[in-house]
Amino acid sequence: MTTCSANEIEGLAARAARGAGAGVAQAAHFGRAAAMHLARGGAGADLLAALDALPGGPVNAVPLALLAGEGEVRIATGGHDALAESYLAALPFAARVTGRDAGGLRAHLSRADRRAVSLPARIALDAGTQGALSAFAARTYVPQSETSRLSGAGAGLTDND
């Protein structure tokens, strides 16, 4: 078990989502929700299940449901209720679950009621989740080559001046 900063988890999860095939915006939303999810004691397995569900599942569905929602909204969670609640908790305005039905949540959003989203200084990340997220994230890295090493950053390898 590693304890991480919230931004580490957000960044890792967002990159993992990109690696798993999510769009740029969906990956960023997933990153924020993932940090909140683990901070609230949610299971790392919920994050991996959401990435496995791509291109379906909550990574695409939840941001769309929250895009411009105001007042009562329904979120088709596809069984990922706990993670969907973390998406709500990560919003910078008041949002609360008001009910549940088969395959989804109902929530009330109040954009005018802004709130500070606060996360703890340390968030625990189990090794299995960390490894799986890192593996997804690694799909966004370009393999090393001598060409890229020598020219990709535009600089030489030693600086003794």
Binding site: A68, A121, T147, S148, G154, N160
Partner: protein
């Protein structure tokens, strides 16, 4: 409560004029650059630096702690130095060892905490840190100037002023990590604290304290005190590569807010109806100082030196006409209008001069150098409204034909080798399928092309085209934040990352840009800035365009 009227201002320069790569690449630091804001605040508080730990041997190796009160709390720079073989000394991210490592610590570390940091800080990216560690950094010596300064001090002399000016620093940082990296504290943990809440204040505090440490270290190893005139002219170097550029794209609201501060400051200066004799004299003094600064800004690369020389020649002509111009109504507005046909370099130096000359009108704007509210919601009534907003705020993307190979020639990526950010050639190298998201123009153009003829709810459109969510959100931000986007195609063959680096570094307060390629640059931070002993004195906030006299 007393009502305070806002200063008058002229209209802001339009984003279509300001947010172009070529202009961004001509920016100069201003008195609203983050380092200036920091040192002004430190000086206003009369902060007094202490050195509770100094365990450095005669060769300069060991550990030290510098502590400083700021905004009602104390912060400490923990410094760890070690011998480094020449073949290990690299400014690249892929380096694995450095001459010095630093942590900005929340409070004053006890012995156990110093031991922990001394063991982990030299590991940098390979280490794990705690929420008491606010910033992580490392630096390498400038081998030439370090050796020269030590030799001279040991010999009872002072460094050669020309050599000191030509290099400008004893050490250069090669990364300054904040906001949670490798386990250090998230920015949110201290964002509400007085002093550290504005953008990059913790990083700037680290840089300024590193600069002080390098002066202290040289005096310790050299066994003598540096002439204060020379010591103040020592900044801290920085080698900046591609990693800094994506931040400007991934933080559109913050970029907007920084630019709004800068442009509002200029607009207030332009609204100034008349200058007093004292104000006019101050402007002339500053303009002449800028001329000297340009003369002392010498770089090895011929093309960039030619650009500096051309600016200096332009500035000399500008200086001849300046006294008469300062007698006119709305002198800064008149000067800015008259400069519209001059080089971008001259225009942006003039912007910086106008802002510098008006501290009472502009300094309060520093409070806006942050992003407390985040991105606005993408609440478009339907795809018709979305399309109208996109055409209004992203009309410039129509100028780019992404079917042309030269318009997609480059791709930004992260290498698996130590996650170093790099730039590749899309049509010649593998990896473009893993490119980093700096393709805003292409994404918005693609979204516009897919919009239906008959308006429908945006969510229905996005259900069919989920990848357009990013473009939709960018349009929503651009609608509320006019300076949020760089209005150029960052994939194009003629996109020079160096322009983005210069924009961001100038906002930080860096000067003496010394580009080494189109992809990376060296700069000097805090040159001319107050030494610790200068805080609380009149010299502490008078270091625009520093010169060695």
């Amino acid at each position: 409560m007393k009502d305070l009227a806002l200063p008058a201002q002229q209209p802001l320069r339009p984003p279509a004029e300001v947010m172009r790569l070529k202009r961004l690449g001509a920016f100069f630091p201003t008195r609203l650059s983050f380092l200036r804001v920091l040192t002004r605040r430190l000086s206003d508080e009369g902060a007094r630096l202490s050195r509770p730990v100094w365990e450095i041997d005669a060769d300069g190796y060991g550990r030290a702690v510098l502590s400083l009160p700021f905004g009602g709390r104390t912060y400490s720079l923990v410094c760890v130095t070690q011998p480094l073989a020449d073949d290990q000394r690299s400014d690249r991210v892929i380096a694995t060892a450095w001459d010095a490592a630093f942590v900005l610590y929340d409070g004053v570390p006890d012995g156990a905490e110093i031991d922990r940091i001394a063991a982990t800080a030299p590991l940098q990216e390979a280490g794990r840190f705690t929420e008491r560690d606010l910033v992580l950094s490392r630096a390498n010596r400038s081998v030439r100037l370090w050796g020269h300064v030590i030799d001279r001090l040991r010999g009872g002399g002072q460094p050669d002023a020309d050599l000191l000016n030509s290099i400008g620093y004893l050490m250069r940082t090669t990364a300054v990590y904040g906001n949670g990296k490798f386990g250090i504290a998230d920015r949110d943990l201290f964002a509400s604290r007085p002093g550290l809440g504005l953008s990059f204040m913790a990083e700037m505090l680290t840089v300024w304290m590193i600069r002080q440490f390098t002066v202290d270290l040289a005096e310790h190893v050299g066994g003598a005190r540096l002439d204060r005139r020379l010591a103040r002219h020592l900044g801290v170097g920085n080698a900046t590569g591609l990693g800094m550029a994506p931040f400007l794209v991934s933080h559109p609201v913050l970029l907007n807010n920084w630019m709004m501060v800068r442009e509002t400051a200029l607009a207030r200066a332009r609204a100034l109806p008349l200058l007093s004799d004292a104000q006019a004299a101050r402007v002339l003094h500053l303009a002449q100082r800028a001329d000297l600064h340009l003369g002392q800004w010498q770089v090895p690369e011929a093309a960039h030196q030619a650009r500096i020389d051309a600016l200096r020649a332009d500035w000399a002509g500008f200086l001849r006409d300046l006294p008469a111009a300062l007698d006119q109504d709305h002198p800064f507005d008149t000067l800015i209008r008259a400069a519209a046909t001059r080089s971008l370099d001259l225009q942006e130096l003039l912007v910086s001069l106008a802002i510098e000359a008006c501290p009472d009108l502009v300094d309060g704007l520093a409070e806006c150098l942050t992003d407390p509210f985040g991105a606005p919601p993408a609440d478009f009534a339907d795809t018709g409204a979305l399309g109208a907003a996109a055409r209004a705020h992203f009309g410039w993307v129509r100028d780019h034909d992404f079917a042309r190979a030269d318009q997609t020639a480059q791709f930004w990526y992260v290498s698996e080798e130590k996650l170093e950010p790099r730039l590749g050639r899309r049509h010649e190298e593998p990896g473009a399928d893993r490119e980093s998201p700096l393709f805003v123009a292409r994404a918005v153009q693609a979204m516009l092309a897919d919009l239906p003829d008959r308006p429908e709810p945006v969510t229905e459109f996005l259900t069919r085209h989920p990848d357009h969510l990013w473009a939709v959100e960018r349009v929503a931000v651009a609608q509320a934040c006019p300076y949020s986007e760089i209005r150029d195609n960052l994939l194009a063959d003629d996109c020079l990352p160096i322009d983005m680096l210069r924009a961001k570094l100038s906002l930080f307060g860096a000067s003496k840009f010394d580009p080494k390629s189109d992809l990376w640059t060296r700069v000097t931070m805090a040159q001319g800035a107050p030494l610790a002993e200068d805080l609380g004195t009149t010299r502490a906030d008078d270091w625009w365009m520093p010169v060695l006299t």
